[in-house]
């Protein structure tokens, strides 16, 4: 059964096919025969494509000081196809390399396994990041080395010898990085750590391409169509950090010869004012041609200077943690400001004993915070975990854990730096596994005083200080305040409200103020503004860690700080004085004569850590 009514339509389709082909033939005729500009470049290899590298974004601190900028560096490039009659010895001499190195380097470039983007027609990096003096000999003799060329690039220049961990470094892209992001080719640099890594896509900019005309001998004759078809490089975006570089340098000075961290946060904004990781190093050591050697050397040291301790180190918070306990007990009505617990040289109950130092007993919350009384918080914790309203210790601990997580512990805070650790807040499952489900407040009593299973990063401790300074909320702590010409998504700097009433925070603030007036933090007192603080003396395998957490001024907090000095002894020994100097520097914009002397004193104090791996 065939319908012939529409048979004419076969002509419509046939004509359509012929029209398409005809139009394309005409188009081909136009671009291949008529239009001369393509034919002009028809000589083999007439066009030479050179990658134009963008300027990487520079980095400013919060006061507009340029801390990271760029300086010229030179790459020796090679187009394998054009390497002819090379005088290898002269070549090696001009670059100060051995002939063996030359052979192995050329083999590596040709090896598609090691260099996936290899093509004999395009420029490959032979040697990267040479300085002006290192390149000068080679540049003079360049005409003798056919196939080789020099590309000017940039490397990082650091105006201050500080903040190496936070800023991070640049290194040559690895093979896996090339494969996962087609933007890179071998020899390109990429942020490896810190801000350089986290903000890589903003800092790097866009590469351009320059199209040049070459003659038959490979000599550049000029640009193709006056650069009409070039693709300009787009410079990277500049960053402004919340960092105060002066404060950072002071912190690094104070932490000389010690291991530990200082983190300071502006409570209202969550901007990180300083982030000191000791031991530290000069950021320019990890820049340029000798990066590899320095990196090897730093990574083999026992005191692990490459570790960014403020976000990667997890420590027992010690007594600084008691503030979070006070808030939890107050909010859960376990205690009120009038509740008094006995402390006779510590907490003793059913044979368990947690020591404490000498002070009057029984005592109320305010005084318990000021004197950092272990007994008081152990009792509070014991009553909370045993409280009838929760039913079982498991349920009580879950409530407790939820408060801790709410305050920013146990999970990463989401700081804009790579490699943040989450610390540890134990939950009921954890104890059920370890104690076969039979445990209670006594078994886990060390949680009350920030010991035992609990660990925090110094950033989390500083963030606790910021939360108390804000009376109940924190903004996700972050390093970068703004990216030039680009909005940082709102989700990056979220305000997080802790589920504890403001009046309970006021009570804890008063306790921390009391601690500065006549408690463990007396050394932090300052006549110009009101300081609030809390010491910590964290027990561990070796000597105690010296910890301080505080903020100032009390009623309009500008800075919240955590100081953590490994094996520094009592909180008052290192933590309090270092914290006090940092707050003075930031709030008054400088240091008094007496304080300057103290800085010299503390920066010269050395803690002996021995040779043990840390």
């Amino acid at each position: 059964m065939k319908n012939h009514r529409f048979d004419n339509r076969k002509y419509v389709i046939g004509i359509l096919v012929m029209t398409v082909v005809l139009v394309y033939v005409i188009r081909l005729f136009q671009i291949q025969i008529l239009d001369t500009r393509y034919r002009n470049s028809a000589d083999n290899n007439a066009l030479y494509y050179r990658t134009v590298y963008p300027t990487r974004g520079v980095i400013y601190d919060r006061n507009g000081n340029m801390i990271v900028s760029n300086q010229p560096s030179f790459d020796v490039m090679v187009v394998m196809r054009n390497v002819k009659n090379l005088d290898t010895l002269a070549f090696c001499r001009s670059l100060d390399i051995t002939p063996d190195f030359f052979e192995s380097r050329m083999a590596d470039i040709r090896n598609v396994r090691k260099n996936p983007g290899y093509s004999a027609y395009t420029e490959q990096v032979f040697l990267a990041q040479l300085s002006v003096s290192e390149i000068s000999d080679f540049r003079e003799n360049l005409y003798r080395f056919s196939g080789f060329n020099i590309t000017q690039r940039q490397q990082r220049k650091y105006s201050y010898e500080a903040a190496a961990h936070l800023l991070g470094d640049l290194g040559e892209v690895s093979r896996s990085e090339i494969e996962s992001d087609g933007w890179y080719t071998q020899g390109d640099v990429i942020g490896k750590q810190g801000v350089e890594k986290y903000y890589e896509s903003s800092l790097r900019g866009e590469k351009g391409t320059e199209i040049l005309l070459k003659d038959a001998y490979g000599r550049i004759q000029g640009s193709y169509y006056n650069g009409e078809y070039d693709k300009e490089a787009v410079p990277g975006r500049n960053l402004t950090l919340g960092l105060d570089i002066e404060l950072q340098m002071l912190g690094e000075k104070l932490m000389q010869n010690k291991i530990g961290s200082i983190v300071a946060i502006e409570p209202k904004t969550g901007e990180i004012l300083c982030m000191v990781s000791a031991p530290s190093f000069n950021p320019s050591e990890l820049s340029g041609r000798h990066r590899g050697e320095h990196y090897q050397e730093l990574s083999s040291r026992a005191d692990k200077p490459l570790l960014n301790r403020p976000i990667q180190g997890t420590y027992p918070p010690g007594s600084t943690f008691k503030t979070s306990q006070a808030l939890t007990f107050l909010q859960e009505d376990i205690i009120d400001t009038q509740t008094r617990y006995p402390c006779t040289g510590g907490f003793s109950f059913r044979g368990l004993r947690v020591g404490c130092h000498n002070h009057s007993s029984p005592l109320a919350l305010n005084f318990a915070i000021a004197t950092s009384c272990n007994g008081y918080f152990c009792w509070g914790y014991y009553y909370m975990i045993g409280a009838a309203k929760y039913g079982t210790p498991q349920k009580a601990l879950t409530v407790w854990k939820d408060y801790m997580v709410d305050m920013g512990f146990g999970y990463t805070l989401g700081v804009d730096l790579p490699g943040e650790a989450r610390g540890m807040i134990p939950n009921s499952d954890y104890y059920d596994r370890h104690y076969n489900r039979s445990w209670n407040g006594l078994t886990t009593i060390s949680n009350a005083i920030g010991q035992g299973e609990v660990t925090l990063t110094p950033l989390q401790i500083a963030n606790l200080g910021a939360t108390i300074a804000n009376r109940g909320y924190y903004i996700t702590p972050h390093v970068v305040r703004s990216v030039e010409g680009q909005d940082i998504p709102d989700s990056a700097f979220i305000r997080h409200d802790v589920n504890v009433d403001r009046e309970n925070y006021e009570i804890v603030v008063k306790g921390m103020r009391q601690s500065v007036i006549d408690g463990t933090c007396r050394a932090a007192n300052n006549s110009d503004y009101l300081v609030c603080g809390k010491t910590g003396t964290a027990q561990n395998r070796g000597a105690d860690h010296s910890v301080f957490m505080g903020f100032a001024p009390m009623d309009d907090p500008k800075i919240a700080i955590a100081v953590y000095v490994e094996n520094g002894g009592f909180g008052a020994v290192y933590g309090v004085p270092i914290g006090a100097l940092m707050m003075e520097q930031y709030i008054t914009g400088g240091l008094s004569e007496a304080s300057r002397k103290k800085v010299e004193d503390y920066s010269n104090r050395k803690i002996d850590y021995g040779e043990e791996e840390r």
Partner: protein, 485 residues
């Protein structure tokens, strides 16, 4: 059931096979040119692209030969089952496939990866042929056409869900098949209007007219709608007074509005135009009811729907499309003359082709394509290599191969005795035509950059095998034609 023994060797269309083999060979040489390194011209190693393509081609020939042994009867009986199986495979692919560059269309089967979308074309063509072959199918009947469209719209949706919009667009080629079978050309007319309005609206940016910004594109489209409305009502009614009324209110009102806007009070003429179209349409509906001529209503509906379409295009373009898709469209329309941005690839491809000149640079001598500045140089942009290395002569030769293939296939499709065979044959023709049109068009900077391969030519096993199956099924159907008609 009668069982016929078909002499495949004797009755198969050798000319088609010869042309396809010639295309494959040209394709293979182009892939050598596009991907081989002059220093290691290791063309036959399995590790290189030419080596792999050689294997794909041999497999395709074997596959095509085997497919010839499956009878038309089988395809006719199992068309729907094959179709449903392929649909299920497409559906499964969405969830199983790994995300590669945003698309979820590749199935990993051990050492080989396959793209089910390439094989769905043949299944869809079978199902459509089977559907149109029904004795009660009436191409003039709207319901039947909608159902027939559903046959190819369903796989389209599934492929869009895999984020392969380009491959999905290919299925629009089936509209042309339905046109051959008697679907009213007005569908194609409407499609043409839709594309024309879209391009005009996007291409002409607002100009300053008087003191007001004046949307030139919108004005042009609205004026065309008014003219078409007048023309259509004249063709339908041959009623002079009605036609002049529509023309007078519509175009006259608009011209008066323009004059007023320019000399007295500036206002938005386009809004007036919309109002005029609504008024004339209302008048047409009124006359339709009065004169008992319900067909007039179609004209009114066309005018009003066109206006609605115009404004939704504006919205879709600015709100729904991704920025990179917007840029691509803009570059194609010549709106963004930006060789450094999205047009960079197309411009590189033009340089490569243009530098080929009349005779080309010779096999393996092309530099532009080898420098890796042409993207996808051995898949979607393979034609660049032909242009550069073989020049105008070679490019035209390849185009003529495709032209002869397509015309031969139209001839074969027309000599089928069954509707089933003819519809399937035209499906093959239209799919190949669409691929040719888009692929070479984009390389030549004429059509948008939609990533679909050049049939039997581009590198890649899936597309090669997909087209081989598509074609060999038709060649087998052709073997079994009864010549008496």
């Amino acid at each position: 059931m009668e069982r016929r023994n078909v002499d495949i060797f004797g009755s198969i269309d050798w000319l088609t096979i010869l042309i396809v083999l010639a295309i494959m060979v040209c394709g293979w040489f182009s892939i050598c040119g596009a991907s081989a390194d002059l220093e290691n011209p290791d063309l036959f190693s399995f590790a290189t692209r030419p080596g792999k393509q050689m294997v794909w081609i041999i497999c395709a020939i074997v596959l095509g030969a085997v497919m010839l042994f499956i009878t038309e009867n089988f395809y006719n009986s199992y068309a729907y089952i094959v179709y449903i199986l392929l649909l299920l495979l497409l559906l499964v692919t969405i969830f199983v496939a790994k995300d590669t560059k945003g698309s979820r269309s590749w199935l990993n089967l051990g050492p080989v990866s396959l793209q089910p979308a390439e094989f769905a074309k043949f299944a869809t063509a079978l199902a459509l042929a089977k559907f149109v072959d029904r004795f009660d199918f009436n191409p003039q009947h709207l319901g039947d056409i909608v159902k027939a469209c559903a046959v190819f719209v369903i796989p389209m949706i599934l492929i869009v869900a895999q984020n392969e919009t380009g491959s999905a667009l290919v299925y629009l080629a089936f509209l042309l098949v339905l046109y051959r079978e008697g679907m009213t050309g007005s569908v194609l007319f409407l499609g043409f209007c839709a594309i024309l309005f879209f391009i005009l609206e996007i291409k002409f940016s607002p100009v300053s007219f008087g003191d007001q910004p004046f949307k030139l594109g919108t004005w042009l489209v609205l004026t065309i709608i008014q003219l078409l409305e007048t023309l259509m009502i004249w063709l339908l009614s041959k009623d002079r007074s009605l036609t002049f009324t529509v023309l007078g209110i519509g175009l006259g009102g608009m011209l008066i509005g323009l004059a007023v806007s320019l000399s007295i009070i500036p206002f938005k003429v386009t809004l007036l135009q919309v109002a005029l179209i609504v008024i004339t349409s209302a008048y047409i509906v009124f006359r339709a009811l009065k004169d008992m001529a319900s067909r007039y209503i179609l004209v009114a509906a066309f005018a009003v729907c066109s206006v609605g379409y115009l404004f939704s295009v504006d919205y879709a373009f600015n709100k729904i499309l991704q920025p990179h898709q917007r840029t691509r469209i803009n570059v194609i329309l010549g709106l963004e003359d930006d060789p450094k941005g999205a047009g960079y690839n197309v411009n590189q491809s033009l340089i490569a082709i243009g530098s080929g000149g009349l005779t080309g640079k010779g096999f393996m001598k092309g530099t532009q394509t080898k420098l890796k500045y042409v993207p996808e140089q051995d898949t979607d942009f393979i034609f660049c290599t032909v242009g550069e290395e073989q020049g105008f002569k070679g490019s035209v030769f390849v185009l003529l191969l495709y032209l002869s293939l397509l015309l031969r296939l139209i001839f074969l499709a027309e000599r089928q005795s069954s509707v089933f065979g003819r519809v399937y044959g035209y499906s093959v023709v239209c799919i190949l035509l669409f691929h040719l049109f888009i692929n070479i068009g984009m390389v030549l900077g004429i059509t948008p950059v939609i990533g679909i391969p050049l049939p039997f030519f581009s590198y890649g096993g899936s597309s090669l095998w997909g087209f081989t199956i598509l074609l060999s099924v038709f060649l087998r159907i052709d073997c079994e034609r009864t010549t008496s008609y």
